[in-house]
Symmetry: D2
């Protein structure tokens, strides 16, 4: 279930998290979830989705879905089709796949109608406030300059976390996740202390020598 507190691992298109590696990695993360009894979800690419979904019992999200219905759309997938494939939720507006505001609104509204959970990524507190008005299930705030880096948002920009939570709460009480540079249980613990309901991570897990251990370390911060 997409319940908080939660660790969401974005597989991106890392070679360590694509194709056969995506299935292996997903199983390691499922083990970490089972052993710890905590919530762990993963976001995979569309081509690998079915293969991964079939193999694990943790929530599997799509990293992107297009804001279209059925029809003459070449090279696109939509929410209705994602639902038929059993998707648990979707990432929307990730830093590496920014969307127009009209498309974000369409996706959040349509997903709610279809019973699909939505995590809308944002780049700062003000954008988070705007997104809160759309009432997605989660907002994941990631300062772009820290994504993929070595210093976590918890350490580098703690005030961005608290400000995001305040600004969001003023508009609508949507749970806030944070991300960017998150690598350790300490980073997670700090984020939770600041009011976050979980973290969105990528390279910290996908590139770890032992992804299961790395995930258990992150989970240790979910206090």
């Amino acid at each position: 279930m997409l319940d908080t507190p939660i660790i969401i691992v974005n597989f991106k298109l890392y070679s360590q998290a694509s194709g056969k590696n995506a299935i292996a990695l997903a199983k390691h993360l499922e083990e970490a979830a089972l052993e710890s009894g905590k919530n762990v979800a993963i976001a995979v690419n569309s081509l690998d989705f079915d293969n991964v979904k079939r193999e694990v019992n943790i929530p599997v999200l799509l990293q992107h879905v297009d804001a279209v219905g059925f029809g003459a759309h070449t090279g696109r997938i939509n929410l209705e089709l994602a639902k038929e494939h059993g998707v648990d939720g979707i990432l929307i507006n990730h830093s590496e796949r920014r969307l127009k505001i009209s498309d974000i609104e369409y996706l959040v509204s349509k997903a709610k109608e279809l019973g699909i959970k939505t995590i809308v990524c944002t780049n700062n507190p003000r954008v988070s406030g705007a997104i809160a008005a759309l009432e997605p299930n989660f907002i994941a705030m990631e300062p772009p300059e820290l994504i993929g880096g070595d210093i976590s948002v918890s350490k580098a920009r703690p005030e961005a976390i608290t400000e995001t939570i305040e600004v969001v709460k003023r508009v609508k009480d949507v749970p806030v996740l944070v991300g960017a540079g998150v690598k350790s249980g300490e980073d997670v613990r700090k984020a939770i202390e600041l009011g976050a309901k979980g973290v969105l991570v990528a390279s910290g897990i996908t590139k770890a020598k032992n992804p299961k251990e790395a995930t258990l370390d992150l989970i240790s911060g979910l206090v």
Copy 2:
């Protein structure tokens, strides 16, 4: 001044509103503003901006500015440069130039810092609510399916106007303009009655046989 109630005329890239025609049209609209004593502003393309700005004393907006600072950006213009050229305000996120939410936030924040007024276009009540959280100077809601058509938003979708105003007010009290298909003083009067602070029009004026008369007709609805 960009005061309400207001008629904002988007020149788009209509031949009747570009190049020398842009200057002539701007003067007709200035006359209508002077005769009526009401607020009329115009939004022109970047190439015509200086020529039009030099010739009239009504507010001249840019139809689009890119969300970048100074630097290695080819084929872009920014707010700092627009300010040097004396811009009064900018349209952001028009239906024909939709932007990413992160870019809308950047433009609204930077424009406020520079003293440039912002009109953010939206396509429905929910998107309007999200934009309200960014606190632009105006929100201009236009149902895309009615833009350029013969039936005005006031007649075809009055409930979209009232709903937009309600949703926006709940987040932040930003003045709401409406647009799409607006052609007559009656359309404007209806919009104002529903709570709008003005209208955003284009073909209704740019393609009118007598643009000054057509503008005076719209103005008659600004009661």
Copy 3:
């Protein structure tokens, strides 16, 4: 095999050609291919790809692949991953998914390296000539104004077909397919007579009451 003459059916995101319907439709087309002994290939969306590929023995293409390698790319798929999934070929630059020229070049070059066939879509003879210089396996010329319509390119724009073939041949002898509005064996026969090596179709098959019969009708024109 992607041999000529060929009928390529683009499933787009039509409800009749997505999810479970994609598999059923693919089987009908496979039957038509087997009965006629002619070349029929299909292009499906990324989420349905594995399911369809597993069920049929005709070539299955992807409708779009992103021009990136492995790495920090959220919501993207690439050629290396498509190859691991057993893709036979890819559509590039379809009218509903136009690409930058630098991305088209990357995809054609990388696909050649990986042994994946490429069909680059173009909108007119001149663009076809430019694409020919990149030496994809096929060029599929479709006048945008005829796509999804009732009049076929063979009838409405025969001169565009002959001109495309001439312009392409002058640069590099890449086989030319044509598409847009193709609905009957007569349309196909005409295209072949004009020098095309096959057709790219979509709604003519995906929306047919009896897709197998409709495909056999098209095939009858592959003389």
Copy 4:
């Protein structure tokens, strides 16, 4: 005139080359052109275009023009309007403003019809070959990884220059300019020796302490 050999200076959106600074810089470059008797052209942003064009007698290009005609296009400019403003030529598909192949073809064809010169930027030899088939007035090849850097294309990738010229010549004999990292007369001389007909530069001139001297230095390589 846009004759070869030529130095084209892209002002980009550098603060040193925007607004009032654009006019001052343009005059320095005009002096360098007059003193040396060589061809120097400049590419400026749309907002500054008229101001710069009015002040100098060297060719003034636009950095980007949209691939649309007149009509309901907000925040766009087109070739017809650029012609009315007296444009001498346009950059198309710069690395910082990449375009779809269908838009490049439209712009090159329409510009030819209107008597506007075209310089299409490309990122490698193969893309250059494709563009040659469209017969623009010039192709400007710039390896993206060297743009804005300290090592010139002449030194870092001489083989990319010769290969581009060969590939282009095989398709159509369009004059080839090169760019990226060009900073000295020596860089220019090397490019010309390799067969280039000129260079496209930006930061090397716009950020120079003495832009006129820096341009005269570049010009010294136009042997």
